[in-house]
Amino acid sequence: MTVVAVEAWVEAPLRRFVEDARTVLALLLHPSGQVVAQSGFARAIDVMSACALAAAIHASAGELGRQLEGRPFRGLHHAGRDRQLYLAEAPTARGPFLVLTVFDQESSLGLVRMYFDEFSRNLAAAAPPPPRNAEPVLAQQFEQDLNKNLATLFRRG
């Protein structure tokens, strides 16, 4: 399974996760919805909508968790008939990242959770220190950055 990343340091940990957990689709993104890496997607439009939905679901579930337990939920699982999804956060020195994982009967929730924990540790270990003058994510730059990242992932532009 091919992994394509906008930032090179995420590629090796994500590739290992995809192979070990036998995912059908995997998406690494910032909580803002900005895509960082993907595996298994064929179209940029699908990545774009999956990122937007994952970021929104994570924000809603996080707030629900805070209201119920005083802290955000650790992971979110949804079981469909043939495919299941797991959405969880991986903290790094560069801030948290979200991972949206889709898997089928070749894998299981237990395996995905287990390998996600390993991935989370590997990603944190691989993360370079945050840049000193990191620019905030601004609404006017968001679409421009998203298009740039999608072009990188799908070799356009």
Binding site: S107, S108, L109, G110, L111, R113, M114
Partner: protein, 115 residues
């Protein structure tokens, strides 16, 4: 409050050389109940053992050998035994020197009591 599986798991873990016994959902690989010695990672064992058991079951069916009833994995530093009933798998982790015959008898008896 103890689960309906507590007595089954306790009986298995009392066997000499048994480090852990778990009831696992076969499809999800998630622990339903467990009785673990200190240092055993139940979630990891459950996920891997359920995946192995599911694949063994599918392999047995593909090879036209019928239903798989018992799986035994022997490794350098331990053994994993699994026996399934409906959607549940009974998993035992044991020392290499454990008496696997006795453990198997207890597991087959226990698996018959699963819902």
């Amino acid at each position: 409050m103890s689960s309906p599986f507590a007595a089954i798991l306790q009986t298995l873990t009392r066997q000499r050389g048994v480090r852990a016994s778990l009831i696992v959902d076969q499809n999800d690989g998630i622990v339903v109940d467990s009785n673990l010695q200190i240092g055993q990672d139940g979630d990891r064992v459950a996920a891997l053992a359920a995946s192995l058991y599911r694949k063994a079951r599918l392999s047995a069916a593909a090879a036209r050998l019928g239903r798989a009833s018992f799986m035994h994995l022997e490794a350098e530093r331990g053994r994993i035994c699994a026996a399934g009933h409906n959607d549940l798998v009974l998993v035992v982790v044991a020392d290499p020197a454990a008496n696997i015959g006795l453990i198997r008898v207890e597991m087959m008896r226990a698996v018959g009591a699963l819902p």
